[in-house]
Point group: C2
Chain length 286, copies 2
């Protein structure tokens, strides 16, 4: 059996009881560690599980999945995924390959940013499609998120923006020289995301949002140190110190926002006067 | 401290390790049991936790929340919610009241239908807003879901439809006589949902979907007996026997569906020929 086990969002105790039992008894345990991370190290997980785990990078999962699936027709293999196995990133290829090899599959769901973000006070019913934001480069500024946010905002819905993480990246120099030396991991902050969003709006000028649009920055969602900061996009450009360490996400408010959402999120406002004023100007009239 | 503890989707072992620790040590434990249910009884939970729990019905949570919150400034109260505490139903009122009473709050996230539905093979990125479907009555057929599905489909997105449950309902006769006798619980099936959807389309005739639109019925998502059945809405009207016992949900496919989604979901098709034919007629051309 191939078990896809969700680990939840924060630390080693966020695994479900059912998931933990599987991890303890599986023949081999892999940890998918390139689309999201827990807030604790691999060593903490290993101590907690009482066994070693293999970190599976993107290359291994995408090019060497038969090694992960080896023998899973008759023995149990656990593939651990931060959040929910079907959350932001699915592992469709791995599951399809397992099916080809006649390996039975079972999923152990867990918390995902896509529902835990509800802790910011906005109703999940009022969210449209989720988008991703990558680190811009000088000559590479993918802005497909903009059109999708536009679709959401046209019908008044909130948008959850998931932020890029870069782990096990090589510098161009090391890559050219074939050196397997990796840069320190980088996690996009709410400030960087808000800044890039405003840059793209300045380029496109379609008025999808602007410096005064309301948004909520979220840090370490679902964890013991979870933190939300609400304000305008312009305010959120400088709110990283308030939010603290990664991981960060951002929610852009839609016009269908309800008073109860306003009241709940107001608690997180950087400046309650700015929050109230912007709300009454931009949302109450819609 | 008020702890909002997600229980996950299926049975007593779906609670997280962190959540279980809190339940074991809290002064009082309440179970919210009117918006969703686990697939096991209260007695199973009580045996597993080694303590008694109080079932909180809608009346108690909405009208008598101060009893739930009593003393939570200094002692720990656990409020258990099936799925994720911020999943389909939030408990905004309870949290706002706790804030007024200066009670600290912590949330223990868990799996939600809103991410676990990804097990059907459709990418969560391609979902629009989630809608709810209630049991129609002769003179009460709320169809706001129709306009929201229309919004999603206009931009090519999938729609998750959450289905009504009725627990602790009184018959009109018993209500009139003031008798606290409750009807057996009712859970809407995929067949009932598909039927109601088609009735509303026949009324409105806006062509949002039709008998040949592709959809996926889901039963007991996240549980050991999870089951998906894919086909046209017309086929799904008669697929309840294939799906088995509650809880059910339904996903209506959007035109932005990707080949990989088709291949993954095809495994669940009632009739693979119908699936392939409908796909090539309705989706490949979009």
């Amino acid at each position: 059996m191939l078990y896809l086990v969700g680990l939840g969002l924060s630390d080693e105790t966020d695994i479900t009881v059912r998931g933990l039992e599987i991890v303890k008894r599986a023949s081999r345990v892999y940890l998918e560690a390139y689309t999201s991370i827990l807030l604790v190290d691999q060593s903490v997980l290993e101590a907690y599980y009482g066994r070693s785990i293999v970190v599976a990078d993107r290359e291994m999962v995408e090019s060497n999945s038969d090694e992960i699936l080896r023998g899973a027709q008759t023995e149990d293999v656990a593939f651990l995924v931060v959040g929910d196995p079907f959350g932001a990133t699915t592992h469709t290829d791995l599951v399809l390959r397992a099916r080809e090899l006649s390996i039975p599959i079972q999923t152990i769901p867990n918390a995902s940013i896509m529902s835990a973000i509800g802790g910011c006070g906005l109703q999940l019913y009022n969210f449209g499609q989720t988008v991703s934001m990558v680190f811009f480069l000088d000559n590479w500024r993918p802005a497909s998120f903009y059109d999708r946010i536009k679709e959401n905002r046209t019908i008044g819905l909130h948008t959850l923006v998931l932020l890029d993480i870069k782990v096990k990246e090589q510098s161009l120099e090391n890559m050219a020289r074939g050196k397997r030396i990796y840069e320190p991991p980088r996690y996009m902050t709410v400030g960087q995301c808000a800044q890039q969003m405003l840059e793209v709006e300045e380029d496109k000028k379609e008025g999808v949002y602007g410096p005064d649009s309301l948004a909520i920055g979220a840090a370490r969602v679902g964890g013991r140190t979870e933190k939300f900061v609400a304000g305008t996009l312009k305010q959120l450009c400088d709110a990283d110190d308030l939010l603290g360490p990664p991981l960060h996400s951002l929610v852009l408010l839609g016009s269908r926002a309800h008073e109860l959402e306003r009241d709940y999120a107001r608690e997180f406002a950087i400046d309650k006067n700015v929050w109230d004023k912007t709300w009454s100007e931009q949302y109450e009239t819609k």
